[in-house]
């Protein structure tokens, strides 16, 4: 059993077999993380560079932990304090890092498509850790892992993604992955924050939250990205919160055994109330725990694919 993909650039186009293999493998890595010594020697001798051109807490720490728990060597790069601030291009930066003999690059960048560009110009295995408003595939995978862990399946699961769909890479990766795995996906948000012709993705689009939540199993709540709200798409945070903020009394139409998810960081009192965020049906912290296991599975599976490519 091996992955067909060589890089993880996005979940668009990744087939159900590959997604299932990653999610199945992650179950074993979750067990590794529960051991008293949560570390295995699998990626000894593999060097991974974490190239973060945008700020990140969770994703960055999660990748670094996943790499270290697999015994890989890791190097961290952040744009501030690097030659990027002297005007070096992305390609030159990566070519120079590659000249120091590395195997994989985990990249977060504000420009959509930058991981795809690197995959074409570089030798290394590339993993997208978020490219602008395009995709955040490992978040999509860990969200699917968390849903599957609770319900035992993804097929037929009713998932509603609420919030700023337009600027959300988490939404896009969730939509691609969940549709591939046979879930029913809806999106809900103010019309100004929903891309035009969204229905063509194969999702239902709602602007009324109560209507969207009717009979849903999972609500994945997106962060209102204050840093991306330049052009007055929202009248005010207060208005957004009143219409789309998830509070306890909006959950009454959900299915029994429903689940609340949020990729973090949360704006408490804006898109989610503290009461909902801390309730037993919310799996926001398990999502973070699962993220490490899912990233370990991905790194392991992609590293073996590398060895094979070199042999050919």
């Amino acid at each position: 059993m091996s992955l067909k993909i060589r890089h993880l650039l996005g979940l668009e186009g990744v087939d159900a077999d590959d997604i299932s293999l990653i999610l199945d493998t992650a179950i074993s890595f979750k067990e590794v993380l529960s051991r008293s010594i949560p570390k295995v020697p699998t990626l000894r001798g593999v060097t991974i560079v974490n190239l973060f051109y945008e700020p990140s807490t969770r994703t960055r720490i999660s990748f670094e932990l996943a790499e270290k728990r697999l015994s890989a060597d890791t190097v961290n790069f952040s744009a501030s304090g690097s030659s990027a601030s002297k005007g070096e291009s992305l390609k030159d930066t990566v070519w120079n890092i590659e000249a120091m003999k590395i195997d994989m690059v985990v990249i977060r960048h504000s420009a959509p498509g930058s991981p795809h560009y690197l995959a074409e110009t570089c030798e290394s295995t590339i993993i997208n850790a978020g490219d602008g408003a395009h995709e955040h595939p490992t978040q999509g995978l860990l969200d699917m892992f968390t849903m599957r862990e609770k319900y035992g399946r993804l097929e037929g699961l009713k998932v509603v993604i609420v919030g700023d769909i337009k600027h959300s890479r988490v939404a896009r990766s969730n939509i691609w992955g969940l549709l591939t795995m046979g879930a029913e996906v809806s999106v809900c948000g103010p019309p100004t924050l929903i891309p035009v012709e969204m229905e063509k993705f194969g999702v239902k689009v709602y602007d009324d939250l109560d209507e969207a939540l009717m009979g849903a199993d999972v609500v994945n709540i997106l962060r209102i990205q204050k840093e991306r709200q330049k052009s007055g798409l929202l009248p005010s945070m207060r208005e957004y919160s009143r219409y789309y903020g998830i509070t306890k009394d909006r959950l009454k139409n959900l299915n029994d055994n429903f689940t609340i998810m949020h990729p973090g960081p949360m704006n408490r009192g804006v898109e989610i109330s503290s009461e909902v965020a801390e309730a037993p049906y919310s799996v926001i912290l398990p999502q973070v725990t699962n993220g490490v296991a899912v990233r370990m599975a991905l790194l392991y599976l992609l590293s073996a694919r590398r060895g094979r490519v070199n042999e050919e």
Binding site: M1, I27, S28, S36, V40, S303, A304, R305, G307, E311
Partner: protein, 185 residues
């Protein structure tokens, strides 16, 4: 696999007798069953470990702790394998500290699997000792590893393939040597 290239060296009865003898040797060596725990290496070793733990439980009139280990993440050839092995779950539902661990596998060959299993076990704690029980020892070691208990010792070449079929996965208990030249365990 064609019939004329495969030779059956153990059948259901001889496997049963061999496992019984191994159990009695384990009890003899350790003067009873106290502090014993059995860990089987996936997949064949896990089924044999279950059988050994059950028999030892009867002999000692006590429940013997049993675990299963998947050594994929500890392999020394993980980067160069063409077909990537599926990582399966490891389950050691007891504290291995100060236990006498009997590690169980179906075939002992190069010793690399056992090496990986030893590393994996030690990541769970510090057992008092680890002993090795195998159904078939086919020789051709590449590491300084030796079985403490062996059901059958056979002389083989690298071109031959030793296959352990067990009821739990193949519906039948038997050990066959395939001489068609594919090699492997």
């Amino acid at each position: 696999m064609t019939k004329n290239t495969a030779e059956k060296i153990m059948d259901s009865k001889s496997i049963k007798l061999a496992l019984n003898r191994i159990c009695h040797e384990i009890v003899e060596r350790n003067v009873g069953t106290s502090d014993l725990a059995i860990i089987g290496i996936r997949t064949g070793g896990a089924y044999l470990a279950e059988r050994i733990a059950a028999t030892l439980g009867k002999i000692g009139k006590t429940k013997i702790p049993m675990g299963i280990i998947d050594i994929t993440l500890y392999r020394d050839d993980i980067q160069d394998k063409l077909d990537q092995p599926l990582v399966q779950e490891t389950s050691i539902p007891f504290d291995i500290g100060n236990k006498i661990i009997v590690l169980v596998d179906d075939v002992l060959y190069t010793g690399r699997t056992v090496r990986a299993a030893l590393d994996a076990i030690i990541d769970f704690g510090r057992p008092r000792s680890i002993q090795l029980a195998v159904l078939v020892d086919r020789g051709l070691r590449e590491l300084p590893i030796k079985a403490d208990f062996a059901g059958r010792e056979v002389t083989t070449t690298q071109k031959e393939r030793v296959e352990v079929h067990l009821k739990e996965m193949n519906g039948v208990d038997e050990v066959v040597i395939d001489r068609s030249g594919r090699g492997g365990v």
